[in-house]
Structures are given as C-alpha cells and as structure tokens.
C-alpha cells in the first residue's frame, strides 16, 4: 500500500501505517515523527525524510529509508531492522535492546549510547560513514561497527565514555587517540573479523557497496575492561 505523506500530520500518517497491510510505501515523507513506533510485523519503505524517533520501540518490522533520518532513530528498539540509505541524526540507536540498524552515511552525536544485550538478544548498529562524538557512551552491550568510508577518522571525541559492555569495531589503520581509560583497544581477532564480515556483507547487499573494498582494511575493537566502571567511586556512609 502506498501512502502519500505530503502535508500529513504524524498522527494521521502513523494511524494509516498501523491500519495498513504488511507492505507499506510512504512517499513524500517530510519530517513526520514516530513512524513505526512499537510496530511489529510490517515492512515499510520511506521515500523522503522521516522525522525524529523513527522506529522507536520497534518490535520486529523492517524499515528502509531512501533518504536521511533525523534524531533518535530506533530509540529503545527491541527487534527488526532499520536501513537508512543516507545519514542519521543524533542518538541513533539509543538504548537498543535488539534488532539491527544499518546507516549508509554518517550518524550524529551519541549514536548507540546505552545499547544493551542479554544472552542471545544483542543489537547491532552498522555505520557506513563516520560517527559523531560520544559514540557508544554508557554502552552496556551489543555491537557497533563504524566503517568510516570516505572519511579519514571513523569517530569523533569521547568514543566509549562510560562503556561497560558490548563492543565497538572501527575500520581504521590507527585507532583513535584519547579514548577513555577503561577501554581496551586491540586489533580485531579472527573471530571478530567473522562477525564484522557477516554484517559488512549485509551492508553491501543493501546499499550496493563492494565488500572487498571494505574488508580490505584493518579493524580495531574497543571493549570495556570492567563491568563495574564506577565501583571505586563510592564509600558507604
């Protein structure tokens, strides 16, 4: 089903999406917020620019955006997949619990912050371009991959501040400087590279990139050295 979103209020658009069938194409999208909020079992293609909180609490749908997305894409998303052909704004993947987000271009500040995981449920955020500052802040689980394509530096400042779980893979020949003390940086192991390759393959299939051009580089992995980064700070009173 095609929905022409031109001039439509978000409430109206989201209501139509909820009542429509499984396959939905939204044309002329222009900043409507909360598209796909909490939705399960749908496949949505968006032509244009969706507004903030695209796919918040997403519970198992697929969203493909031909264009850029704005802030808080996939906020607290639980399951499903979001593919952004352009770039995505700040706090992309905030507190993700599961599912996948693939961004062909860049992401803003604080992407992937507070991502979680529990046993087999582990979210993935793949960024084709570069990430702004505070990538993976407070990260408690999950996987972030930054490919840094067409960029000299994959991440901004303060990457992994307060990180206490999960992993961040960066495609670069030298790891970024000034990482927080509680982060260990290593060259990606063979096992790591297998994980990376799986997602790079999917990334290339979706966005028509060439896998060999991406895997032909070093990858570094950032991991926290403690599950309790702030334990020493307190004294019982």
């Amino acid at each position: 089903m095609n929905i022409n979103a031109a001039g439509m209020h978000f409430k109206e658009l989201n209501e139509q999406i909820k009542t429509a069938g499984r396959e939905i194409v939204v044309d002329n999208c222009m900043g409507q917020r909360y598209i796909g909020s909490g939705l399960a079992g749908k496949s949505i293609v968006i032509n244009g620019t969706p507004g903030n909180a695209l796919g918040a609490y997403l519970d198992g749908s697929t969203i493909l955006v031909h264009g850029n997305a704005q802030d808080a894409t996939g906020d607290t998303m639980n399951d499903g997949a979001i593919y952004i052909a352009g770039s995505s704004g700040d706090a992309t993947g905030y507190a993700m619990r599961g599912g996948k987000i693939f961004v062909n271009g860049d992401v803003g500040y604080r992407a992937g912050i507070h991502m979680k995981e529990y046993k087999e449920k582990s979210p993935v955020l793949v960024i084709g371009g570069a990430a702004g500052s505070f990538l993976g802040e407070y990260q408690a689980g999950g996987t972030i991959i930054v490919l840094g394509l067409e960029h000299t530096k994959p991440v901004g400042n303060f990457c992994g501040m307060g990180m206490h779980g999960g992993r961040i893979y960066l495609r670069c020949s030298v790891p970024p400087k000034g990482l927080p003390r509680q982060i260990t940086v290593e060259k990606a192991s063979e096992e790591d590279m297998e994980t990376i390759e799986t997602y790079v393959k999917e990334f290339c299939e979706i966005f028509g990139r060439r896998e060999c051009m991406i895997m032909n580089s070093d990858f570094y992995v950032l991991r926290p050295d403690s599950k309790n980064p702030y334990r020493q700070l307190y004294t019982q009173n």
Binding site: N52, A53, D75, E117, Y138, P229, Q236, N237
Partner: protein, 501 residues
C-alpha cells in the same frame, strides 16, 4: 595496619541473664554482628557491623537484645559534629563519594508540620463519615477545557485516558533490583486491592507481575532498562522519570552485585554489570525534546495510556512544570528533597532540591495563573508520612500523592538507611534469596492495605470535619489551611493565611 578512626555508631546491648544462646540473632543478621563464643557458651557481638535495623531485636525470643546509640563522643563542637568528622575520616580513608540511602535526614523545616487544618463550627455543619457518603475517589489525567457537542446536541467524549484511584495515594517508583521480588509483589497486590497504582521504577517489570497491569505504572528512565512494547502496554500509565527528589540532577547506579538472576533479565543487562542510568535523557535537552518522548510513547501505545512526567523539586520547579504541562504530559509528578532512594550520594541527597510543600504550592499557583492547571494532574511525593500530610497536600493543590518510604515501613523497614549495602535483613532492599523470603507477600500486601485503609478513614474524618464530602472539593482549597511558625515569605509561597487570620 592503618588505624581505624571510626567508633561504631550503635552498640548492641545484650542482657546475658535473658540470653539463652539460641543463636537466632546470629542467623537473622546478614551483617554478621552476632556470634557464639563456644568456649564460654555466650553470644557476642561486633558493634561495628550493626546498622540498627532491629531484626535481631524483633526476633529475639527472650527480649534479651536492644540497640542503643553510642554515648562515645567527640569533644563537643556545634560546627564540627561527630557525623561531619566521621564523614571526613571515611573519605580520607577511601577517596570515595559518600553514598547513602533513604531520604534526607537533615533537620530542614518540615512544612507539613507548620500547616494546620480547618474544621467547621456552628456556621456550617461538619459531616460524619461513618454515616454519610464521603468521596475519596480521584481521576488523574488531562481534563478537557470545554464540553463538545455534535450536531444533535449529544456530548462528544473528548476525555483522554484517566487513572481512577479509590484513594489519592499511590506507591511511588521503586525498581525491581533496588527492592526485592517479594516487595514488588506486596506492592502490586496491595495496589490492586486498594484500586490504586504502584510503580515499577526503572528496572523493568518481572513477567509474573504483568497480571497487575491495571494497577501498574511503568517507568521509562534515562537508562531505558526493561523498556519494550509489551512492558509499555503492561502499564495503566507510563511515567517518564526526569528526576528524583533524593538526587536531583544525577542519574542512578545499581551496583553489579544486585544485577543477578531475574533482575539481570528484566533489565536486560548481563549479570554482574552495573546498571547505569545517565543523569540526563540524552535525547531530551528541552521541553520540545520532552514532548518528543511523550509522543513517541503515546504513539507506541495508541494514545491509550496517560503519560506522567516525574521531576524533582528544584529551584525553578514552577517554570519547569509549566513547560511539562505544555509537553503533552497528562500528569506531573513532583518529588521533594526528602524523598527516599535506594542509593544516592550523601551530599546530593542532603543539599540539593527544595521541600515538596513549597514546590507544590508554587507549581499549582503557576499553572493556575497561566490557565493550564487542567492540562495536567499533579502528584506529589517526598515525603508524605501520614494522612494529614495527604490532606494538606491536596489542599495545597495536589490531585494525589506518592508514598514509598511509608510503604516500606509498612512492609517492615526500620529505616536503618543501609539499602545501598544490599543486605536488608527485612527482605526488602536485597536480592539475596535467603533474605528475600523473609518478606511474605501475603502479610506484606495486607499490611499495606491496612495502612492505606487507615489513612483513608482519617482523610474522611478530616474532610468531614471541614464539611467537605468530596476530595475534589478540597483540591487547591488553601483556605482550609493556616500556617504556624512561618514567615511572610513562606506564607506567600504556600498561599495560606496565618493561624488566627
């Protein structure tokens, strides 16, 4: 070994003529205070480990035990009190931030105790609640500004979702993790029996408690622990936690030792990992951003749930509340600086925020002045200690109140203020299975129901005395209050006259 400068705060006094060395105290104390000297067959105690929780005292079959505050003292000094000196010692020894629990214990003014309630005499009759109907039911949520009718003159129902409470008292947010499974079960069952609500806090909701959905407020905080579609739908309302009275402006930090088993699963972080809630929501830097979270939650739940925004009472609370009332939120919860906590930095707890009485009065007045009071209901907490506090809060403008410390006391808490240690001997603020099972939810929920029923009777008595038979008619009715021992400024902010005026 370094010298320990700290003398124990409490002393365990054991009457050896009564003690039968049955070792109950030893088994009951998770802090390891009591031990048997087998050669002498005498119970001994290590005062330094005692937190004064009274578990041993309550269970001693011969009443051989009592705990006293030590009379050991520093040289008297009004500026450098013993407590202040000890805190310096603690920090000098460890380099750590002082961590405390439960509400602000400092002797700041308690304005509830400086407000007096009116009663009818001669000129208008008081009402006897034992014989006449007395309404304590309230509905929380946005109230429409006008009645709308269709072309046939029929009323169009434009009422957004409301919460119905038989008594204007709810149990405020305490997460599964900070308190135990049995404590949550007690609160959930009591909320159902009382037709009111309890609040999950930010630790998610154990699947066993989804059945209490109609009496549950689910919380969404900056860490987003346990937040997913089913969780949001499991609540009768959703609360966005922006702040907490015990620690305004800072986040939460549940230590990894409490992240075990079901707590780990419910929060969705690995066992042993710290659960860190950042100080801000990193997608909220303005009222416009708050509006975004409010509406993303409403969209995810098809506009079926009222959204509560909880803020701490801070200096500009009236202006902040005005913004919140325009954000699309249905209810504002304000938490005063005496509100409890499972753990907060001592300095924040004791020095940041303002009293709830002043915050409530100024928020209610501000929203009235701006003509937006009916956009939102107001719920206040931190701290409401008894039914008179409830009546005074309603008269100052609250729609309902939140209680938590009072509820924990009903469950057996003795306010030893050691929740952060995770070794609660009463089975409340702990995740150790041996301790958790000490709290029986059958008894716990019954005690909570008893407490609120008792308060409800007292509220009705006080309302009846004022000649008011519906709590809605008391709301914001500040003429029913008079101040005592207050200065002009305080009376002005509270909007009440002085006793005798």
């Amino acid at each position: 070994m370094a010298i320990n400068f700290l003398y124990p705060d409490y002393e365990v006094v054991r009457d050896q003529t009564k003690c039968i060395a049955c070792r109950v105290c030893e088994r009951q104390c998770a802090n390891g205070v009591h031990m048997l000297d087998e050669t002498l067959n005498l119970m001994k105690s290590d005062d330094a480990k005692c937190v004064n929780c009274h578990r041993c005292v309550s269970l001693c079959p011969t009443r051989a035990l009592k705990i006293v505050k030590t009379d050991h003292t520093f040289k008297e000094n009004a500026n450098w009190t013993g407590e202040t000196i000890k805190e310096v010692y603690r920090q000098a020894a460890t380099g750590g931030v002082l961590l405390s629990s439960m509400g602000n214990p400092k002797p700041y003014p308690v304005y509830w105790d400086k407000l007096l309630i009116n009663a009818s005499q001669v000129t208008n009759p008081s009402i006897d609640p034992l014989r006449e109907p007395m309404e304590t039911r309230v509905y929380l949520g946005k109230k429409p500004g006008a009645i709308q009718r269709d072309q046939n003159g029929e009323i169009i129902c434009n009422l957004t979702p409301q919460l119905e409470l038989d008594v204007p008292v709810m149990f405020s947010a305490m997460s599964y993790g900070s308190i135990s499974y049995n404590a949550h079960e007690s609160l959930a069952r009591a909320a159902r029996a009382l037709n009111t609500l309890y609040n999950t806090g930010e630790g998610g909701l154990h699947e066993d408690f989804y059945e209490y959905s109609a009496n549950t407020i689910v919380q969404v905080a900056s860490g987003r622990f346990g937040v997913h579609k089913d969780y949001l739908n499991a609540g009768a309302a959703i609360e966005i936690k922006m702040g907490q009275g015990a620690k305004p402006g800072i986040g939460g930090h549940l230590p990894g030792q409490k992240i075990v088993g079901d707590v780990s699963r419910t929060r969705m972080i690995p066992e042993g990992s710290d659960a860190i809630s950042p100080a801000p929501h990193h997608d909220i830097y303005s009222i416009e951003d708050l509006r975004q979270l409010v509406y993303s939650l409403k969209e995810a739940t098809d506009y079926q749930k009222p959204v509560i925004v909880k803020i701490a009472a801070v200096h500009n609370v009236a202006a902040i509340a005005s913004g919140v009332a325009r954000s699309g939120a249905d209810i504002i919860a304000i938490d005063g600086f005496r509100g409890g906590t499972g753990a907060a930095p001592t300095r924040i707890r004791d020095n940041v925020g303002i009293p709830i009485e002043l915050a409530l009065a100024s928020v209610d007045q501000r929203l009235r002045d701006e003509g937006i009071r009916n956009n939102v209901s107001i719920v206040v907490g931190g701290s409401i200690r008894n039914s008179a506090d409830v009546v005074k809060a309603v008269a100052l403008g609250a729609d309902a109140v939140y209680i938590a410390t009072g509820a924990l006391l009903a469950l057996g808490c003795h306010l030893c203020r050691s929740c952060q240690a995770g070794k609660c001997n009463w089975g409340i603020a702990t995740q150790e299975p041996e301790l958790v099972k000490r709290l029986n939810p059958d008894i716990g929920s019954e005690r909570l129901v008893n407490l609120i029923h008792a308060w409800q009777h007292e509220i009705k008595e006080m309302m009846g005395g004022m000649g008011i038979n519906s709590i809605e008619a008391l709301k914001g009715n500040r003429l029913m209050l008079r101040g005592i021992g207050l200065n002009e400024k305080e009376l002005g902010i509270l909007g009440v006259k002085y006793a005798g005026e």
